[in-house]
Symmetry: D2
Subunit: 448 residues, 4 copies
Amino acid sequence: MPPGLLDSLFTSQAMDSVFSDRAHVQGMLDFDAALARAEAKAGIIPARAAEAIAAKCDAGLVDIDALRRDARDAGNTFLPLHGQLTRLVAADDVAAAGFLHWGATSQDAMDTGLMLQLRRALELIEGDLEKLSEALAVQAGAHRNTVMAGRTWLQQALPVTFGLKVAGWLDAVERHRSRLAGLRPRLVVLQFGGAAGTLASLGDKGLAVAEALAVELGLTLPAMPWHGHRDRLVEAGLAMAALAGSLGKMARDISLLSQTEVAEAFEPTGAGRGGSSAMPQKHNPVACAAILAVALRMPGLAASLLAAMPQEHERGLGGWHAEWTTLPEMFRLAAGALEQAMFLASGLEVDAARMRANLEAAQGQIMAEAIKMALAQRLGQGVAHAIVRRACETAARTDRPLGEVLAGDSEAAAAIPVVELSALLRPESYLGGAEDFVDRVLAGRRGY
Amino acid sequence: MPPGLLDSLFTSQAMDSVFSDRAHVQGMLDFDAALARAEAKAGIIPARAAEAIAAKCDAGLVDIDALRRDARDAGNTFLPLHGQLTRLVAADDVAAAGFLHWGATSQDAMDTGLMLQLRRALELIEGDLEKLSEALAVQAGAHRNTVMAGRTWLQQALPVTFGLKVAGWLDAVERHRSRLAGLRPRLVVLQFGGAAGTLASLGDKGLAVAEALAVELGLTLPAMPWHGHRDRLVEAGLAMAALAGSLGKMARDISLLSQTEVAEAFEPTGAGRGGSSAMPQKHNPVACAAILAVALRMPGLAASLLAAMPQEHERGLGGWHAEWTTLPEMFRLAAGALEQAMFLASGLEVDAARMRANLEAAQGQIMAEAIKMALAQRLGQGVAHAIVRRACETAARTDRPLGEVLAGDSEAAAAIPVVELSALLRPESYLGGAEDFVDRVLAGRRGY
Amino acid sequence: MPPGLLDSLFTSQAMDSVFSDRAHVQGMLDFDAALARAEAKAGIIPARAAEAIAAKCDAGLVDIDALRRDARDAGNTFLPLHGQLTRLVAADDVAAAGFLHWGATSQDAMDTGLMLQLRRALELIEGDLEKLSEALAVQAGAHRNTVMAGRTWLQQALPVTFGLKVAGWLDAVERHRSRLAGLRPRLVVLQFGGAAGTLASLGDKGLAVAEALAVELGLTLPAMPWHGHRDRLVEAGLAMAALAGSLGKMARDISLLSQTEVAEAFEPTGAGRGGSSAMPQKHNPVACAAILAVALRMPGLAASLLAAMPQEHERGLGGWHAEWTTLPEMFRLAAGALEQAMFLASGLEVDAARMRANLEAAQGQIMAEAIKMALAQRLGQGVAHAIVRRACETAARTDRPLGEVLAGDSEAAAAIPVVELSALLRPESYLGGAEDFVDRVLAGRRGY
Amino acid sequence: MPPGLLDSLFTSQAMDSVFSDRAHVQGMLDFDAALARAEAKAGIIPARAAEAIAAKCDAGLVDIDALRRDARDAGNTFLPLHGQLTRLVAADDVAAAGFLHWGATSQDAMDTGLMLQLRRALELIEGDLEKLSEALAVQAGAHRNTVMAGRTWLQQALPVTFGLKVAGWLDAVERHRSRLAGLRPRLVVLQFGGAAGTLASLGDKGLAVAEALAVELGLTLPAMPWHGHRDRLVEAGLAMAALAGSLGKMARDISLLSQTEVAEAFEPTGAGRGGSSAMPQKHNPVACAAILAVALRMPGLAASLLAAMPQEHERGLGGWHAEWTTLPEMFRLAAGALEQAMFLASGLEVDAARMRANLEAAQGQIMAEAIKMALAQRLGQGVAHAIVRRACETAARTDRPLGEVLAGDSEAAAAIPVVELSALLRPESYLGGAEDFVDRVLAGRRGY
C-alpha cells in the first residue's frame, strides 16, 4: 500500500516497503514458518506439518482486505491471519493445520515479525547515514576555507567557515551512527513466550524451541519474553526522533541560509522542484520543509511511544496497540528526512562570494570581538569591551565602518596602532581552530 | 484508500472517507470550481471559462498515483493537481485553462479544501457524540439505583451507583459537545489570500471575490487570510485530543470493571470478538484497548500540532507541512474511539449482583466513613477517625467484619448503639446525592 | 517561593504569585473556611466552630517546609495541611477542630483551591491579552502603509505592509480572547463530592451545602463532582498552549526580521538587555528567545496534561498527580510569554527604510506575480507564468533588474507596454486588500 | 532552593541538590575557575590572575536573588553572574578581573556547568539503579515459586510466578543500566568554543587550552564545540524518560495487584503513609501514584527536549533556552521515581495465599490453554480450541468448575482421561520456563 498522498513528501519508498501491510503480514508469517521448523526439529510437531505450514507462509496468498475487515473485532491482525492461514494449510493437509502456531500467542508473531522489519529498517537507516556522512564529509572538506558569518541568536557574531558548519552537522550524524550501533544488540531480539510469557504450552521444551527459533530467524534470544516491557522498541523510536532533530537542525540552517536576504546556500533545483502556483520567481526549499516537518512531528510521536510504556501485567491493554503505527511511522519519517538530507548534502549550491559579501556588509561589526581581545591584552576585557561596544554603537548609528570609528577613537587608537587594526578586521585572521575542528571531525568518522 | 492494516482498529470508516486521498483532492477541486464561479460573477474571468473549469473539478478524473509521485518534488499536493487540472480543462477549452486558480495560491486551495473536510468531520463527530450521549443517558437512568463500590486510588472507598459512574462519563461528553459548538464558528472559515495574503492578484476586487467565494462554499469569511496563523486548526485538533482523553477515562473504567477479579461490567461479546489464539477462555476487551490506544496516541499528536504553530512570516516552512497528516489523523482516531465508545455504551453488560458481592466482600470496610461520620457527630472527626481506623485494621488483620469489631469496641459501642450500626453498614443508606447528581446530568443534556 | 533561577526568564512575577506554594495553601484553606461557613448555615456544624476554623485559615500560619516534608508520605499536600490546621484550631477550640473539613475529601480542597487560583490566573491572562491587543492595534494602525517584503517559505514573495503582518498577530490574539471567554464558564466551578463523589457524608444535605459553598466562593456549581473527569483543567491548559503557539509565531517573525541581514525590526533595547559576554556588537533578541522557548515547551506540557486524562474510577492514581505542577507551569509560561510579547509589541523598533530597501534589493523579482497577472489577462496564466519565470531566471543569472529583462523580452514587451511595466513594478500598486484587512481586524477587536 | 510544594512528592532530595540554583551557579563558576587555570598554564593569562579568579569562584559568594532579577533582561544566567564575579575579583585584584572568562562565551560556561551537574546526576541514577536491581533480584529469587495468575488484557490468562513478574521488571532495569553505560562517554564532554565555536579569541592556542581545560574538569574533549547540536543532552533526557516508563510499568502492575478485589501485593505501609482525610480504612498506594505521575509527565518533557533540537546556526534562539529547566526536571523526576521504586522493591508486601486464591477463584478457567494443548496432541489445535472454548463458556454460564464440565464432555473425556485432567488443572504443572527465565535474568545482571 502506498503512503497517503499527504504523507508522500515525508517518507521514503524503501522504508515504506519495509512497513507496508504486506511486509507486516509477511513478518508474522516468517515467525510461524520458523516456529514450525524449530518445533519439528525439537520433535514437537511432525516435520511434514512444518513443511506444509511453511509452504503457505507467503503474504502473497493472504487476503489483506479481509484482514483489515476482521482485525477490528479480533483486536489484532494476527488472529484473522491465523484463520486464513489455517484454511490455506488445511486445504492441503488438514493435520498440519492443527500444528500451526503451536504453543505461541498472537503477540509472539506480531512482535517478532516487527523485529524482522526493524532489523531491515535499521539496515536502511544505517546505510543512508553512511551515505549522508560521506556527502557531508566531502562538503566539509571542500569548504574548509570558505569564510562566512557565524551567527548566534540569528545575529552575525564572528567569522566561521562553511566547512565548520558542515562539520557540525556531520559530527552529529556520526554520534547517531554510534547510538544505532549501540542499540542494535539490545533491540533485535526474538519474542517468544506463549500466552503469558512462560512457554508453558511447550512443557519443558520451551527454552529449547526458543533457542532453535532464534537461530532460524537470526535473532538474539533475550533473557526472557518481554511482552509487557517495551523499552527496546521505545529506544529504537527515540533514536529515530533524535536523528530527526539533528537533521532538522541542518535543514533549519540551510533554510535560513537560502533566505532571499541571505542567499548563501540553496537546495539543488530541478524541473518541478519548489515552484509556486502564484509566483514565477520562487524556488521553495522543499527538502528543508519536508525535513523540518518531520522534526516537528517526531517529538509528539516519541511522546506517544513513551506514554504507552506502563503496560499492564503480562500483556497490556491499549499500550501495545498504541505502538503499532507509531513506531513504523517514526522509521518512515526518519528515512524520509534522511533521503531529503542526502539530497541536500550532495547537491547543495553554495555561494561563497555572497557569504563573503554578507560578512562585509555589516562594516566590520562582526570583528568586534577580535578587536576587543586585542585591546584586552593591554586594558583587560572589561575596559576593552566597553570601548568596542561604544564604537559599535557609534558605527551603527552613523552608518560608518567600525574600523573607521575605532581609528578615530583616541582610547582605542592609543592601544592599537592603525596598521594592526586593519589586520584585526580581516575575517581570515580570526578563524581560530575552525580548520582543526573540521579535521578532528573528519578523522573521527566511523570506519575511517 | 483504506487505512493501514494496523490502523484499521482505531479509525472509523466514515471518517476515513472524509480524509481519504480522494476527498483531499476533491476539497481542493471544490475550491477551484467555486473560485472560478465567484470570479466569473465578479467579471474577472469569463463565465464560459468558469463553466469549463468547474466541469473538470472532479476527483474521479484525477490520477492520484501521479500526484503522489509528483508531490514530493513540488512540495505540496496542489501544484501537481494544478498541472493535471490544467491539462484536463485545456483539452476542452484552452483559454479556460488560463483562468484556472486565478489569483490564488496553493495554500488557499489546500486550506479551504481542508476546511470543507473539517466541516463534514465535525458533523460526524457531533452526530456520534449525540448518539453516545443518548446511549449513556439510557444506561445512567437504568442503573440509577445499581449500588456498587466506589473506588479511589484503585481501592474501595464508598458505595456509589453505576448510574452515577455513567453520569460522570455523560457529563464529560456533554461538555465536549458544548466545546465543539463553541469552536465551530471560529473554525470553519474560508482561506483566500493569494500568494502573500493580500489578494493583490485581484487588484481592488479581492475582498469582493472573497465574499462571493465564501458564499459559494458556505464558509465564513474571516477578517483576513490566515496562512501563517494556525490556531483555528490547532483548536480543532486539541478538541479531538481532549475528547479522546474523556473516552479513554470511560474505557479505563470499563476495562478495570471487567477484570477477572472484579467482573462487574463487560464489553458486548460476539462472534470473533476478543478471542485469543492461545487461550480458549478469553474475552479480551477489544473496544477498551482500541479507545485506550487512541487516548495514548492523541497527546503526542496534539503536541505535534502545537509545535508547528510558530510558522514563519506570510507562509511558513515545515510547520504547515507538519499539520497535513497530523490533524486528519486526530479526527480519524477520535471518530474511531467514538465508534468503539458507542458500541460499549449501547451494549455494556452489567452484572449488578457481582457489584453487590464485591461491595460486601471487604466485610464492611467500605462503610468506614459512614460510621466515622456518625461517631463524629458526638466525638468530633479526629477521635472518630482514629476509632474507626483502629477497628478497620483489627478487622483486616483478623479477617472479621468491621461491624463485628466495632460492636466489640467499647468506645465505639458507647457512641453508636448496635442497632444503628447495622443501619450504618447498609450501602443503600449511604449514597448521598448520587441520584440527584444523575438527575442533574440528565437534565442538563444539550437539547433536552 | 521565587521561580527557579533558570525559569525566571520565562515566567511573570504576577502569575508566579498566583501559583506560589503559599497561594496553593491559601486556596485549600479558603475552601475549608467557606465549607465551614456553608455547613454552619445549613445547621450541620456549630456556627462557633465555623468561626474558629475560618480564623485559622490563613496561609501565614502554616509551616510550609513541614508540609513539603510530610506531603511525600501522605501522597498529597492537603493531608499534612489538615494536620497542621487541626492543631491550630484545636489550640483555641478543641471541639471546633473536630468539625474541620466536615464531610469533604482532600481532592475537594485541592481542586477547589486550584479553581480559585485559576480564576485569578485567567483574569491576569485576559488583562494582559487586552493590553497586548491594544498595543498591537496601535502598531497595525501606525504601519498600515509601511510597505515591506512579504515572505513565504522564507523567500521574498510579494509586497505586504507591516501593518498587515501586525494585524495577523492581532487577529490571532483576538481569537484567543474569544476562546478564553468561551471556556471560562465551563472551567471555573466548585469541586465538592466527598470521598467518592456522592457527598454521602452529609446525608441528604449534600446538595444544599454544595450550593451554599459555591455561593460562598463565587464559583459555579457543576452538575456533579468531577474528581475523575479532568477535561475542564485540560481545556484551560490547552488554551494556554495554543496561545503560546500564536505568541511564538509573532516572536519567530520578529526574530527573523531582526537578523543582521534583514534588520527591519528590533526588540526594544535597554541597559543590560541582550548583551554578550564575548561580543561587543551584540543586541540579542532576548524577548523573542524567551517566547520561543515557551512555545517549544508548551506542546510537551499539553501532552502531559492530555495523557493524564484517563483516570481510574471515582478518583485516580497518578493521573491527578501529574496535573499538579503541569497546569500551573502552563499558566506561568503563558503569562511570561505574554509579558515578553507586550514588551515587544509596545516598544518594537521598526526600520521602514530598510524594509523598503530589502524589497528593492532583489531588483524587481518580488513583483513577478504582478507582472504575470498583467500578462495573464491577455495570454492566460500558463503562458504568462512561463514568460515571467524565464525572465526571473535570466535576471537572477545575469544579476539584472527584472524590469530590464522583461523590457527586452519581445514576447513580454508585446503584451505589456514599457510604461505599464514600470507601474507594475511599484510595490505600492500591488498591495491588494492589505489595508482593508487591517481595518477589518481592527474593527473586530473585542469590545470595539 | 527546595522543590515546589506540589513537586516534592515526585523528586528526590539528592537530585534536587544536583540541580539546585546554587549548584547551577557553582557549575558555571567551576568552568571559569578551571578556564583561568588552563589559560594560565598555557601562558595566556597571568598565573596570579588565575589564582585571584579561582578564589572567588564560590557560589556561596553570589547573590542568587540578584541573578534572578537580572537574568531576565540579560537573556541568560551567566551574564549577570559574570558581572557579580567581576566585581568580586576586582575587589581584590583589578587586573585579574580583566582576565575573567577570557575568550569564552556564556554558553561555554552554562553548558559545561551543566555537564558537571549531569555527571553527578548520572552517578546518582546509576547508583540507585544498582540498588533497585539488587532489591528486585532478592524479590525475584524469593518468589521464584510463588504461583499466581498471569494476566493479559487485564484478564486471567495462565499461571505465572511472582518471581517471573519481578524478573521482568529487573530485566528492564538491567537494560536501562546498559543504556546509561553506553551513553555516558558520548554525553559527558566539555563545551568550549567561544562566541561562534571557533575559539578564535585564543588565536592559535584554542585547542591547547581546550585540552587543558578538559583535563582540569575531568571531561572528555569532543571533536568540536556543539553549541547548536544538542543530541547529547537529548539522549540523556530520553534515557530518563524511558527509564520512567519502565518504572511506570512496575508501578502500574503493583497498583493493580493492590486493588481491593485483587489484594495480592501492597506498598509498604507506615505511619502517615497513604491515609485519607475522609476514609479510615484507606491505605493509598502513594509510591505507585508518584511513579505513575512521573511516567505520565516524562513523555511530554521528552517531546519538549526533542522539539528544541533544530537550533539556528552557531548558537540558537529559544531552543537552547527551552532545555534549561526541561532536562534537569527529567533527571529530578527520574530520581524521584527511582527512589519510590526502591521503596517499593525493598518493602513490597506479597500475599502468596491470596495469589493462590485468586488463581483458583475462576474455577479452572485459567488452565484452559493447558487442557487445549493436551487435547491438541491428539486432535490438533483447532478442534481442541473449540472443545475447550465451548466448555469454558458452559462453565462460566453455569458457574461450575471447568474440570467438571470437561469431565462431562464426551469429546474431551475421550481424548483426556479424568486422571490426567486433574493433573492438567494444577497450576504448578503449567509454569513452563518460568524458573529458567528468572535464572537467566539473575545471571545476566551487570557485574554478576
